[in-house]
């Protein structure tokens, strides 16, 4: 029985009038945890009751503490009839369970009712006393920290990144149980909210257990999702990356002692070049390659299908030079089908002696069933035959791969949900890998053994893993999973970026990390990650390779697509921009298998077209790489929608993208020709305009540099070397470069015409605005502290008549463009500003309804500095970033099976020492415990002493907490204004330093109304609900003592309406990390003292404007 939960109900305010006669309320409160309930006295006849209750104490085991939410119900006492519920507050007490987070939850919480919304507020104080539990078989995982942030949290250092953790739990959805027919909507909603709260608690606990098993102490990039499968149940699933984190001490920058073993690596014998930068070893990487797989389920038994390997499609795009095209399909050599893209692009490889496997056909796509089909975007295969670079890198590459692979292969899935990494961590990036599978939902018979769902995901992950392997990568980063459900059909999707990770961080017992140093040197800063990871001679798909424009040593692809954020060290020219591909496809209404089949049949085409669109739009902006790519395919009754968002940038390492050339089909028609040339001109103008807009002015064209005997001094030696060694290719490359304009759009029918038109309809944001869907906008680094996070939702009805793919596409496109336009308009007062982390979600709630939800943050920046775009600040910020990261970076990836070897005791010690050197502050208070291990030691000591007290750290912390509490609650009883809580989908706040992570916020709300018109129609209803959700998130953060939520995300927004019945219902699921931040300007004035920091939210609350 290792925990005591204490709850005190202080007061209420602004309660609704429950007694019409007196215009007052006789309120009391029920406090429930698990199966225990306490009640306060009735506070008669007041809308602002002061209960000031005693401490209600719940003695519970920690498993329960993790699973159960604290449930507070405010009721109106009624002598003659049943008491009326006013509303509830659910408090997740998880943040109180780990040592470094909050010590007390105290503050005003909105009282929420699923029918009436927020009805007044209640002031509650919650504390937990944890006892020690050394039971090795325990089922709880208290102490494991969770972060939504997909990078190493700012005030921590990663000692070890262990890898992928996943779990799912299923249950019956209360909404679909028989009892729902007889209970009130309120009861049903509350049952659902409670169940989901319970399930996510359980899920988190189970994931925590896995982390403990891996000897980690935290989960980073934690993403939890709900699948509302309707009749067949409710699935809550989560993925994340297990890590061992160390809290960074403010004062001492201690060295990462943990990877000392790897430091002493010897040089590799075959590394003959002393110049570190010349090493071009390391898997070289292809650029943009995507591997997709579609797995329509074939067996439509009730038990869900197994994977569908037999449908394979191979649409590939080969955006590349004009001429005959060459396709390589390494994985499915027999496949000769033409994919739709064929008609558009043709490529040719000059100088290469390869024979085309087949030439381009314009024939319609043929879908074939064949063996597992991996679709990739084919790259033009220029330079493929040469392979001389491979010569040098070959053996080394193999070695490297063996080493890292052997290490990573011990993991079932070498996946990382992180999107931002320490510099140097990513050696090479292979490209996007994704897999989708269409499944028929069936009832989950035994919720305790959710095998089918597990199996589904395992299948998909397996597929992802094999795709990554095909790209010569041993790991997948920026990994995420999602579903789209319509009736009984479900599309499961997973995607990530195949990558090769730096073996410096891979501690492999057998290899002794011998390659470490070499690799470190091998990847030149800023371009290494672009180099292809696979063997040129043995490419997984045809690609158009050139020498890296930065280091000139390694091969790079012409385009790179990834799901991760832009690496800090990447060298980018100009600014980035949000690029979206939008697509609709009609499908027949059908049942079960037929439906699943038609969806599976459509998917490949959609993927293909989405990619073509992305590619075209990328070229149109004169850019050559996409980051943060997220492709969402949504299934509805009679259509599929695809929406891909990414941030386009110009990477200095990749070749300048060629333009887009339009070719007409009927060359002899004069007017037609004219039309074509007109279009061509428009396109060229657009490209030129975009280059100017995004400040893309790459140095000089590569041919000249390559041909020139005097390269820039910095690169001279390297270049010379590369010239001498591979002069052959250089000439070859030149040839292909000469053709680099060869991206051709062939206009052969109205469809194609539409496509071209739609290309040109994307309006650039108004001046002063930039947008991206990544964390940071390349080219802007002088952010000012003003931020505005927002959610916008639109539901549009498609006119019923004449629905064709074209009109649908146009409608959808307009919908998105208009939404963006209205965002720019609304935020016009913030100019100059950038919309960051723009996240679109598409849903098809009903037949003709399309729902789009956008969450993003607008951040202002200083225009003057931005205009200059001078190098100095950039470099400085990069430096800062890298020193920042320095501490975080020095971690080994824990791959070895012997845990002891990698146990980071030394760093933990240092932290402690550092802590105790702090004057006047007990170490325990500062970090409570600096690492999991230390915590365990501490606990062990306590136990040995035979005390049953709570840990020392808790005791010490409490006076502070009390003081803090008093400090805060005093003003809140008076007329004080509410403290400001900032929210942002980013992992940081501009101009501020995050000093403490207080725990994860993960909330699920249902709102329902039976008086839709009276509440202002659907817009009024949803507007109020989203405002309420924000308010409840802010209240919880403020109660934890925080002043911001970072990595905020609205994971679900399910809206259903029935205007005829005047009803609507909406479910929203949000999450984020509650933090305390301090303005950098304030920080300088403050002594580095945690106590000041703790009181920060109160003092800064008033004057900070969001």
């Amino acid at each position: 029985m290792p925990g005591k939960l204490k709850v005190k109900i202080v007061a209420g305010r602004h309660l609704p009038v429950m007694d019409r006669a007196s215009d007052l309320t006789d309120a009391f409160v029920e406090v429930k945890f698990g199966n225990t309930t306490f009640k306060t006295d009735v506070y008669p006849k007041s809308l602002n009751p002061q209960w000031n209750s005693e401490w209600f104490k719940f003695e519970v085991d920690d498993e329960e503490l993790q699973d159960e939410p604290l449930q507070i119900t405010v009721l109106d006492h009624d002598t003659y009839s049943a008491n009326d519920a006013i509303g509830k507050v659910y408090i997740d007490i998880d943040p109180l369970l780990y040592s470094e987070a909050a010590t007390v939850i105290s503050g005003w919480f909105p009282i929420y009712d699923t029918i009436h919304g927020i009805r007044g507020e209640i002031n509650v104080v919650v504390k937990v006393d944890l006892f020690n539990d050394l039971n090795r078989f325990r089922q709880s995982s208290c102490g494991v920290k969770f972060f939504c942030t997909t990078s190493i949290p700012k005030c921590y250092r990663a000692v070890i990144i262990h890898g992928f953790v996943e779990e799912l739990v299923v249950n019956e959805d209360p909404e679909y149980q028989w009892i729902d027919r007889i209970r009130t909507p309120r009861a049903s909603n509350e049952a659902r909210q409670r169940l989901i709260s319970l399930m996510s608690g359980e899920l988190q606990r189970k994931i925590g257990l896995k982390v403990l098993e891996m000897r980690g102490n935290a989960v980073v990039g934690y993403l939890q999702c709900f699948d509302l499968e309707g009749e067949s149940g409710l699935v809550v699933r989560a993925i994340g990356t297990a890590c061992t984190l160390d809290k960074l001490s403010n004062t001492s920058a201690f060295l990462p002692a943990c990877n000392s073993p790897s430091k002493e690596m010897k040089e590799i014998p075959f590394n003959e070049d002393p110049n570190p930068n010349t090493h071009s070893s390391g898997p070289s990487t292809p650029l943009k390659n995507q591997t997709y797989s579609f797995s329509p389920s074939k067996s439509y038994s009730r038990q869900s299908s197994s994977s569908d390997t037999d449908l394979s499609l191979t649409p590939k795009t080969a955006p590349s030079p004009q001429g005959p095209r060459i396709f390589l399909f390494p994985s499915s050599p027999t496949l000769s089908c033409d994919s739709p893209h064929l008609k558009k692009s043709c490529l040719l490889l000059s100088g290469s002696s390869l024979n085309p496997l087949h030439s381009s056909h314009v024939s319609p796509v043929v879908l074939r069933k064949s063996v597992s089909f991996t679709e990739e975007l084919l790259l033009a295969a220029s330079g493929m035959g040469s392979g001389s670079a491979g010569k040098e890198g070959g053996p080394f590459k193999t070695l490297l791969r063996q080493q890292t692979q052997s290490a990573l292969e011990q993991r079932e899935f070498p996946f990382f949900t992180l999107t931002t990494f320490p510099p140097g961590f990513l050696v090479h990036v292979g490209g996007v890998v994704s897999a989708r599978s269409v499944k028929l939902l069936d009832r989950i018979h035994n919720p305790d053994e959710p095998e089918t769902r597990d199996a589904w995901w395992a299948e998909i992950r397996q597929e992802i893993k094999s795709h990554a392997k095909a790209l010569g990568c041993h790991a997948v980063v920026g990994y995420s999973e999602s579903t789209s459900i319509c009736e009984e059909v479900c599309i499961l999707s997973a995607s990530g970026t195949a990558a090769v990770l730096n073996p410096r961080f891979l501690q492999d017992g057998t290899m002794e990390g011998c390659l470490e140093q070499r690799i470190e040197e091998a990847s030149p800063p800023g371009c290494g990650f672009c180099h292809i990871p696979y063997d040129e001679l043995n490419m997984p798909f045809p690609a158009h390779l050139t020498y890296c424009y930065n280091c000139r040593k390694q091969k790079v692809p012409d385009v790179l697509f990834t799901t991760i954020d832009l690496p800090v060290e990447a060298i980018v020219i100009g600014k980035g921009c949000l690029i979206q591909a939008r697509l609709c496809r009609l499908k027949k209404k059908a049942q079960a298998e037929a439906n699943a089949t038609s969806i599976s049949n459509l998917l490949p085409f959609m993927e293909y077209e989405v990619h073509t669109q992305l590619m075209n739009k990328l070229k149109l902006r004169g850019m050559n790489a996409l980051f943060g790519l997220r492709i969402q395919i949504t299934v509805g009754e009679n259509m599929l929608m695809g929406l891909a968002s990414a941030t386009g940038v110009y990477l200095a390492a990749l070749p300048t993208p060629g333009g887009i050339q339009i070719a007409g089909k009927t060359p002899n028609d004069g007017t037609y020709e004219q039309h074509i040339s007109h279009m061509q001109k428009k396109i060229n103008d657009t490209i030129a305009k975009n280059k100017e807009l995004y400040e893309i002015n790459p140095p000089e064209l590569p041919e000249e540099i390559i041909g020139s005997p005097i390269p820039e001094p910095r690169q001279r030696s390297r270049l010379l070397r590369s010239q001498s060694e591979s002069s052959d290719e250089v000439t070859e490359l030149d040839l292909s470069h000469g053709k680099k304009d060869a991206f051709v759009l062939e206009i052969d029918d109205t469809d194609a015409m539409e496509d071209v038109h739609s290309l040109l309809t994307d309006v650039p944001p108004p001046s002063g605005f930039y947008s991206c869907n990544t964390e940071i906008m390349p080219g802007i680094n002088n952010w000012t502290p003003e931020i505005q996070m927002f959610t916008a939702v639109r539901v549009s009805r498609l006119s019923n008549i004449n629905l064709t793919n074209q009109t649908l596409n146009k409608n959808f496109n307009d919908l998105c463009e208009n939404l963006l336009k209205s965002l720019y308009f609304k935020l016009r007062s913030m100019v100059p500003c950038c919309l960051c982390h723009v996240n679109f979600t598409v849903a098809l709630p009903e037949d003709e309804l399309v729902q789009i939800a956008v969450t993003a943050v607008a951040i202002t920046f200083d225009k003057n500095q931005a205009l200059q775009a001078n190098k100095a600040p950039t470099e400085k910020s990069q430096q800062r970033a890298s020193t920042d990261n320095e501490d975080q970076l020095q971690f080994p990836l824990e791959l070895c099976s012997d845990p002891l070897a990698s146990q980071p005791f030394p760093p933990a010690k240092e932290v402690l020492e550092g802590a105790s050197s702090h004057t006047g502050i007990p170490a325990a208070q500062r970090d409570r415990c600096n690492s999991w291990i230390e915590l365990i030691k501490l606990k062990a000591q306590t136990i040995r002493r035979g005390s049953i007290k709570t840990t020392a750290s808790l005791d010490k912390a409490s006076p502070l907490a009390e003081g803090y509490l008093r400090h805060r609650s005093v003003p809140s009883c008076t007329n004080s204004t509410v403290s400001v809580v900032k929210m942002t989908p980013l992992s940081f706040l501009p101009g501020a330093k995050i000093t403490k992570y207080l725990g994860i916020i993960n909330m699920f709300f249902i709102r329902e109304t039976t008086s839709l018109r009276e509440e202002g129609g659907v817009s009024g209803f949803l507007h109020a609900f989203i405002a309420e959700v924000f308010a409840m998130v802010r209240a919880h953060v403020a109660a934890l003592g925080g002043n911001a939520v970072v990595s905020y995300i609205m994971k679900q927004c399910v809206f259903m309406e029935n205007p005829n019945k005047n009803q609507a219902q909406c479910l929203i699921n949000v999450s984020g990390d509650a933090v305390i931040f301090v303005r950098e300007s304030e920080l300088e004035m403050l002594p580095v003292q945690p106590s000041t920091v703790v009181s920060q939210p109160t003092s800064s609350g008033g004057d900070v404007t969001t």
Partner: protein, 357 residues
């Protein structure tokens, strides 16, 4: 493709002051969009009418949700639903409670009842203030009236505290409440030349010098009422005009003091008795509710109009009233000096304020 649902919610509530004013002025969404179009926002931001409509609707929805809170401004500060910086909160409250003086002038002295509310369309037509705006302003008056009706202490302070209004606005509200409570007649034709500002100033003087709150903030009577005992005492002042000796003495004192100092000396001397009678009797009548209503009518009819027809300048009036108030000090038989001065302070101030065209 029509948008059924279209919303934007910011963590910090976005408030467009221009749209807020349009909303306060009672324009419908369509009218507001038209006005914004004319205002040229489109040219500046380069966007479409649809965007403007959606933006306007969003703001209107926000304001409708905020309105409930604006009814009790302290709640706006405490509420958790909308995160609004304090300066913007103050702006919201101030603008919501701001009123048209022309509208308030019409309403002064009327009972803030349902009946009056029904007649608002007339006032709206007369003043050119839109009916929606009239209703909001009327409801504001009524809400403030109800909230402070029973409270003790200075009216303006109470209003400022309960509605977080800036002090000048709170004082104007106090005047409105005072008039609604005392029901002074203000609508007569001969009072038409008086503005809201005139009346508000008079009300403030009355509250300052006459009401209980001004003397003892803790006193039992609400601030809106002039205490009965004081009004009763005012009858004692009649001795100044009823007693012929006193009246003559008073006149000679004033005349001596003013001789050669004012331009209308002869008119003053000739009219002294009727003037003095009027000035004293206004106070004496205040005990009867019906006569209270005529307070301003009497002042205008019996003091201001005669003076005006004799072409007194405001300086003349000031000088006269000053000496007229001070003279009884020299009257040994007159024992209500303090009462007299408290009474005359208000009358003097009111007259001086009202003495214009």
């Amino acid at each position: 493709m029509t948008s059924d649902l279209d919303i934007f919610v910011g963590n910090t509530t976005l408030i467009d002051e221009e749209v807020y004013q349009l909303w306060l002025d009672g324009h419908s969404v369509a009218e507001a969009v038209a006005r914004r179009l004319r205002g040229g926002v489109l040219e500046r931001a380069g966007t479409s009418v649809a965007v403007l409509q959606s933006d306007t609707r969003d703001h209107y929805r926000t304001f409708q949700m905020l309105e409930r809170l604006l009814h009790a401004p302290p709640r706006l500060l405490q509420q958790l639903l909308f995160q609004i910086p304090p300066s913007r909160q103050a702006m919201l409250v101030q603008r919501y409670y701001a009123f048209e003086e022309s509208f308030a002038r019409e309403l002064l002295g009327k009972k803030l009842s349902k009946g009056t509310k029904k007649d608002l369309d007339e006032i709206s037509a007369r003043t050119g203030v839109s009916i929606k705006s009239c209703r909001r302003q009327f409801d504001n008056f009524k809400r403030v009236f109800k909230a402070v009706e029973e409270l003790r202490g200075p009216l303006a302070d109470n209003i400022q505290q309960l509605f977080l209004l800036p002090p000048p606005l709170a004082r104007d509200y106090a005047a409105v409440v005072f008039f609604a409570n005392s029901r002074f007649e203000t609508g007569k034709r001969r009072l038409q030349f008086l503005t809201f500002g005139d009346f508000a100033a008079c009300a403030q003087h009355m509250m300052l010098h006459w009401t209980q709150g001004a003397l003892a903030p803790e006193a039992a009577e609400p601030d809106g009422d002039v205490p009965k005992s004081f009004l009763q005492d005012l009858k004692e002042l009649k001795v100044l005009v009823a007693d012929k000796d006193l009246l003559d003495l008073h006149k000679s004192l004033v005349c001596t003091a003013l001789r050669g100092k004012i331009s209308v000396y002869n008119e003053m001397e000739a009219n002294f008795k009727p003037l003095s009678r009027a000035l004293v009797n206004v106070g004496g009548k205040l005990t009867h509710a019906r006569d209270v209503r005529d307070f301003f009518v009497d002042l205008v009819e019996k003091v201001i109009e005669p003076c005006r027809s004799d072409k007194w300048s405001p300086a003349d009036l000031r000088l006269f009233l000053g000496h007229y108030t001070a003279a009884p000090r020299a009257l040994p038989a007159f024992r209500h000096q303090a009462l007299w001065e408290r009474y005359m302070a208000v009358i003097t101030a009111c007259l001086l304020r009202m003495y214009h065209d």
